[in-house]
């Protein structure tokens, strides 16, 4: 049965591969969280949702957590009652793939504040959204419309490792503020930067 579902999912998601477009309905998905519970995107209708593609072994992600930049963004989101979904699309055996226990341990040790850490070892959801890097961020509004996709901030580009992230413009926070004010989102698509998502090949 699971096999059939996978195939069906594969067919469905292959069609929608990399088709997540800003200002369009965000593709719905079903994933297991780090507690083994099913989490469905559509159950958050009426709430703003942030998707964060992550891989703890990626130096880009590591820097965002080490400097507390990611946690600060998560805190800002939490204060605004925004659902934060950290998604791991690393295939088993690749960098960033973690067991549920390891995932929860990482959340704890890094003082991270995701609503859920979601396991996407087959990469279906990552491919449906066209997630390319870790981190790669998406913002979905209360109506389920994708409003932002791209980098977490403007610190990307050459020399990232030397940059002070607290000086960078945080696109997620800006978009959340603009979404809250009901004004146009200034940056709706930016270039994501980071390590490649370690998809199953």
């Amino acid at each position: 049965m699971q096999y059939v579902v996978s195939i069906l999912l594969l067919v469905f998601l292959e069609i929608s591969y990399a088709s997540a477009k800003t200002e369009e309905q965000a593709p719905d998905f079903n994933l297991l969280n780090s507690y083994g519970e099913t989490v469905k995107l559509s159950e958050f209708k009426g709430q703003t949702v942030v998707l964060e593609w992550t891989n703890h072994g990626c130096p880009f992600v590591a820097k965002h957590y080490k400097t507390n930049n990611m946690q600060n963004t998560q805190t800002a989101a939490k204060e605004a009652s925004v659902v934060w979904l950290s998604i791991i699309s690393s295939a088993p055996g690749t960098q960033g793939f973690v067991t549920n226990e390891e995932a929860n341990e990482l959340t704890k040790s890094r003082n991270a504040l995701p609503s859920h850490v979601l396991q996407d070892p087959e990469g279906f959801v990552g491919k449906a959204y066209g997630a390319k890097t870790t981190p790669h961020m998406y913002l979905i509004d209360k109506a389920g419309i994708l409003r932002y996709q791209g980098a977490i901030d403007d610190a990307g580009g050459r020399g990232f490792m030397f940059k002070d992230l607290s000086q960078a413009k945080n696109y997620i926070i800006s978009a959340l503020v603009e979404l809250n004010q009901g004004t146009e989102i200034t940056d709706r698509v930016t270039k994501p930067y980071g390590c490649s998502v370690k998809y199953k090949s």
């Binding site: 990469g123 490792m161 030397f162 090949s201």
Partner: protein, 690 residues
Amino acid sequence: MINIIFKKPYKSLSVKLSLFLILLLTTSSSLWSDSFFQASDSSVEVTSESEAMMKGDELLLGLNFKLTPGWHTYWKNPGDAGEGASVTWQLPKGFQASEILWPGPEAIPVEPLMTFGYEDEITLLTKIKALDAAVFPAIVKAKVSWYTCKDICVPQEANLELTIQNGEKVNTFFANELSNVFLNLPKELSSKHRVEALDDNYFLQMELDGNTPVSSAYFFPEEYGLSSYSKEQILEINKNSLSLQISQSEVDLKLQNFAGVLLLNNQDSRTFFNVNLNLNNNQKQESLSISELVLTIIFAFIGGLILNAMPCVFPILSIKILNFVEQSEGSKEKMIQHGLSFSAGVLVTFLSIAGLLLLLKSGGESIGWGYQLQSPLMVTILIYLFVAIGITFMSNLVLGGQLAQLGNINQGYGDITSSFLTGVLAVIVASPCTAPFMGSAVGIALLQPGFITIAIFVSLGLGFAAPYLLLSFYPSLLKVLPKPGAWMETLKQFMAFPMWGSALWLTWVLSGQVQTDSVLMVLLGALFIALGLWILEKNQSSDGFAKWMSLSSVTILLGAALWLAPTDYENIEQDTSSDLNSYSPELLDSLLAENKPVFLNFTADWCITCKVNEAIVLNQVSIKNALESKGIVYLKADWTRKDETIANKLAEYGRTGVPLYLLYSSEGIPVILPELLTEDMLLSYIETIK
């Protein structure tokens, strides 16, 4: 580390040692050590083509990365993930460094993503220059950070330094390698190339000279948001050109430029070229700058002025000259009134046409300049009009009514409206002649916002009316014209011939639009009109029943003539031999697909410029032979009748009228030829086709 240990206990030691320490602390830490740094799975070394240079010299420096097999580092655009190396040069005073010169990258797929970078070994170049203020020996430092990646990425950094002495440049061990890398940097692309956005793809097309066969090609975009990196690029190679299909990015950032590096591979070489093309994001409505606008309006005025000398305005011109000759006996005031009235007629007509064009344009109809003559009814009415004018010239007829006054304008003393109507007529008849002078300007006008279109048409009208206006205000200028006399009657009668000549030409135009029978009907209608005018003239001085009879018979004859007029196109049997050469988008596409060069002639029977070009140039044996010898296929797009596909093709080149001549090379790249052709010019164009 040694510095730190020494720092405290020896702080108060001898000056010599302090200086040594200060030197160590300021010029270097343990990281500022060497020209070489070994990291995990990669190393970096700063190299120079020479260890010495003079003021004013340029020196090539390289950062040479060596990578463990299987590992890579990135290009300036890393593709879907990763990041190119960052280099911060710290130069002593008096030195300048260039941007990093990036060698062409490789496509390194990381399924399902695509990255751009370098494997094994790469040298990033920088040129430094010693200015007059340079002080030697100069210590050049580089702070380098980069990523060494396989399936995972390792960020790495190094601080390197190099000392440069003052002196003649002497090649180092690295000089050869550096100049090799420099020579293989992406070059300017000298052959013709362009990019087209179609559906979800870009098509990068370029001409090839036969000497460099291409076996594969790849385009590396410079900026995010241009193309979808992971999608396959599809290469199509024709005899003399290539076309590379590149998927557009899923994210639309509305980039203005198609910029990046094109890699062309053949058996034994890889060559990189810089590509930087403008993407017109459907901005067909290019706005004119103020100076361009002023220039266009000036040209429109000059164009209007020149119209007076055109063959199709000639009859009107002669009418007006007659008119002025007669008016010169009248009062100055009247003259001015007539001049203003004529100009008003011209302007109102130009404005109406502009208004109509705008209206039709907003209705999305495909129209063009000279289009009035695409209507058989309009052509027929003009035929009748010219026949009637000719007859009144020949006779002593004095007609009443507005239409008749049009033909009776030589009796210009009377109604001011006659001058106005002459102005109207002049513009209508002149319109087919505007193409050679105004084709482009009208094209621009129609692509512009409405008010610019109107400004251009007003300017055109003012130019057209200017000579008459001038003459009416300064009748003294008329003195250069002959004194009135008996010759005027002769001249008037003679003027009937250009009128009938015009009618003849219009009849021929009509024959391209309707069947022979219908043309005959129109000629019959013309006969009726001649008969009616003859009856009118015979009964001119009669009254009562005879007058009533003549007027009613004339009305019946005029009605019959109009009833005979065709209202729409009819199928004409076309001879099949000409069909082979008649344009259709499909035929053009298939010829171009076969790499055949094509000469495409956009023409119409009512376009005099087209017909003149055909008669004196295109139909010449020399041209036919030249086309044949080059294997150029001659296609004719006949726009005598309304034709959507032709109008669309014209619009592609910003035209709304004919003529338009396109010469497609075998690579399918068109050259727009001038509207006025000469034999030599056309031959030299043909000569360029391979």
